[in-house]
Symmetry: C3
Subunit: 392 residues, 3 copies
Amino acid sequence: MMLCTALVFIMHLGFAAVEAGFTQAKNTVNILFKNTLTPAIGLLTFAFFGFNLMYPAFADGPGWFDFSGFLLSDSSGLSYNSGYTYWTDFLFQGMFAATAATIVSGAVAERIKINAYFIFTVIFVGLIYPVIGSWKWGGGALDAMGFYDFAGSTLVHSVGGWGALAGVIIIGPRIGKYVDGKVVDKEGSSVPLATIGVFLLWLGWFGFNGGSVLSADPMATSVVLVNTSLAACAGALGGCFTGYFMFNRLDFGMVLNGVLAGLVGITAGADVMNITDSLIIGLISGTLVVFSAVFLDKLKLDDCVGAISVHLTCGVFGTLAVGIFGSMAGWSQFLTQLKGVAICGGAAFTSAFIIFFIMKKTFGIRVSAKHEVEGLDSHEHGIRGYTIVYND
Amino acid sequence: MMLCTALVFIMHLGFAAVEAGFTQAKNTVNILFKNTLTPAIGLLTFAFFGFNLMYPAFADGPGWFDFSGFLLSDSSGLSYNSGYTYWTDFLFQGMFAATAATIVSGAVAERIKINAYFIFTVIFVGLIYPVIGSWKWGGGALDAMGFYDFAGSTLVHSVGGWGALAGVIIIGPRIGKYVDGKVVDKEGSSVPLATIGVFLLWLGWFGFNGGSVLSADPMATSVVLVNTSLAACAGALGGCFTGYFMFNRLDFGMVLNGVLAGLVGITAGADVMNITDSLIIGLISGTLVVFSAVFLDKLKLDDCVGAISVHLTCGVFGTLAVGIFGSMAGWSQFLTQLKGVAICGGAAFTSAFIIFFIMKKTFGIRVSAKHEVEGLDSHEHGIRGYTIVYND
Amino acid sequence: MMLCTALVFIMHLGFAAVEAGFTQAKNTVNILFKNTLTPAIGLLTFAFFGFNLMYPAFADGPGWFDFSGFLLSDSSGLSYNSGYTYWTDFLFQGMFAATAATIVSGAVAERIKINAYFIFTVIFVGLIYPVIGSWKWGGGALDAMGFYDFAGSTLVHSVGGWGALAGVIIIGPRIGKYVDGKVVDKEGSSVPLATIGVFLLWLGWFGFNGGSVLSADPMATSVVLVNTSLAACAGALGGCFTGYFMFNRLDFGMVLNGVLAGLVGITAGADVMNITDSLIIGLISGTLVVFSAVFLDKLKLDDCVGAISVHLTCGVFGTLAVGIFGSMAGWSQFLTQLKGVAICGGAAFTSAFIIFFIMKKTFGIRVSAKHEVEGLDSHEHGIRGYTIVYND
């Protein structure tokens, strides 16, 4: 469990690498700055109040809100749980939590003001995410309703994805992204960096999904890991083929996003699927992510790294898939899943929309056109991401 | 064991980084594309039939071929093995399997057609590798013969290396590699990327060799890890010094390949060596890898990343070393090792040669000269590996 | 414990990435060359004599020097310790040991002769580090005195930091670093690379501090990991805010060094602090690292990557913090900590100074001005770190 926490931690490096690799070189330092401070802020807010919002004990029965006080307390001591300690649980969940903000970070990159992003992060990670999480993982109302989300297709990924969608709608596309009805490619700084990121995220998912078994039961954990990996593999193929049919080229971005799509898709039901289910879910996720990306561009919703397609589209699909495939499949379960998706989505999107909207109307959320065009790195950070010059 | 699987998984990122770092920037996306899909294809083919080819139970006694049916089955359940589950074993072995194709990928990079590579991968990882593997690890004929290969110097590395040799012979050198009797350096895109790759491979080897103990016996596992690390260290020094004497410079490529050489060399006998043996094996491997690279260039066999020297040369040496050093040393064991090397090598080289030859004679395995010179990325993938431009 | 060793191993990749990312592109290969061979040399010298210098048994009672003979021996066998084996312990400590030299490597980079660096490394890692380490972890005189250093704020980090300080004093600043009373920025080659490095170091610290519990007691280990992470988070914020107030920009280098500062600061007392203590220690460390960097520049002590500020300044502070915060706090403990800091610091600085001084006066420790200006890579290694060129 502690080692799973280490793997989940490394996902933050994965996100940093994916986002910095897929965005323009003039904003690399800005991306890395945000992605380094995001887990720091996530862990700190979770320590101050997030964790106690997410696991509030619900003294009055499963509900929608409860709070067990500020700061961590170790009163629960060694008797907390047989498989892991209170502290491990905090660290594991705190690492998870920051993920929701990181997803948003990628979508609104290259144009958001850094203070706006951090204010959003504190509220979203510290308040919105844990309250929504408490509905299921804290033993709240969604849990009582029979909603199932093994490791967070909805509670983590689609919550982040809804936040990203709200952000992208309010902040608008990057300058020069949609010109005369055409979508202009903004080339990422480094494909190797993005690749490193995707592999690290895959690795982190072993911790994410593996750790969500919340015990060291080897059989259950190993089935989860096999399902997770096969869905990622099928997602890669799905992204590869769909990308080829859509764009007539071997689109590597779609392979990478296909891997992530497969991982997000399997996350809700990684423990209730067999390998055929996992392959199908992965393949559909890898296909969906391509259509979703094209569709968003049609709507002029500019998501720099494809975060909405990966985390929202496939998060929703993966959650519904629990009602369609695997041992829990059934019409009634499907409706419950749909209800859960709608409730969490409504809550996450509305609150993210309100936060971004208020910030936009007050101090503004977008950098000046000059800074955007010339790059955030030289203006806000005073250094460049890459300084590769030789004398000759 | 599950964590070892995670470490072996990260080896695929290691291979991707080494190969992308050591090859030219104009082909970076192509390399990464192949190295991302290779583990996906490896795991999928292993799920469909590879695993059941490799561990076929050999109902009629140890033989050369048997097959226990398509797709994985969990009938074996919890009673599979005391140390790990059926599923963990599949994931661990499936991660291993793709390695064999990855080794080939590096050698024939920058000029092979991508469809030819993937067809080769499916056949090599799905059929050739597991059948050869079954001879020893599946309890087949080589195992009955007393052949020893702890974690795959022969079954993984030299099998991949023989495939690479066959590929390099058939596809021919890159345009402009050998001019007027001189070897022209084709500078790799990023030395840091290659370094990241080598460190990750070393890390992965902890899982590779550590996991091959196939239990959590701390004493046995820790001895294996110490031997593995010391061989890597000695390999680095061997590569460094030999490189210095040969080229009169501090050749960093030879240090990195020396590390890998030491790791490959110790892999066959990591559990039967003491630390002095491990140091000697590492040192010899690190030396051999340099001579091998120079020798291949003499033969105009163009291996972009030194894969044949690392995996074939040192894989063969490491396998023979079990008969020379350590607790199993002896003339009869040496002959058995030699026989195993010859049988596996003959099978791997011949089959890889046939696959490449048939593809060459039918649809062709080599990209056009124009694509090769201008780079595969812009022609096949439509993006570039690095886009580091600033306005001034 | 074995997995902690793997995590500590990956710290060497972390150091390599941080140092190569923060230094100029013309010296990238040189940095990576040193950082790849450093763990190799560290592990080899530790196998030959370092380990036996550090854990000498002290037959005559806790003292200052003892030696239990050359080469490792496995006589202790399985009864060595209940939590881990002799071999795991060697590997874990050997991985640690090389860290001390790596710290020096970053500070004196871009101008030190490579042979001088390696001679220093062999002596410092093989002799100085283990002898000082034996005073506490080997059960020597400092241990008998009640000095506390959980995982090496003093024994690892400040020892390395003192070595770095001695090196920087003797070798002098890079050409063009201090011109007309101004500090000239020497831009690092790749901020993403440095970021990868810092995240990997953070990850490695889970192994470093987690493994130092030297058992798998989940409660103790998880508290240590939470403290470690929170200190890193607070360090990041400390570095961010202090950097902003000092330089009026979002200085990403200070965020990254703030993370490392927090980690170094908590290392001495990670098991005796509560979370509030950890947050305060992290915050102070992240602040100190900025002031220390500015102060060193005032003294024209040119430390390329901020190694002295991170490892020495925060290592000293973290050690003293054991006497100020947490369950061991007290005036007498503070004085003991101070005594330990002074004794170890005196020994490390003096010996490093002597080694560098003798080398300077004999064969010289600094490359020629021509090589320094044009870069070490093309002159000593014959290749470049980055070769990112396209045809158009």
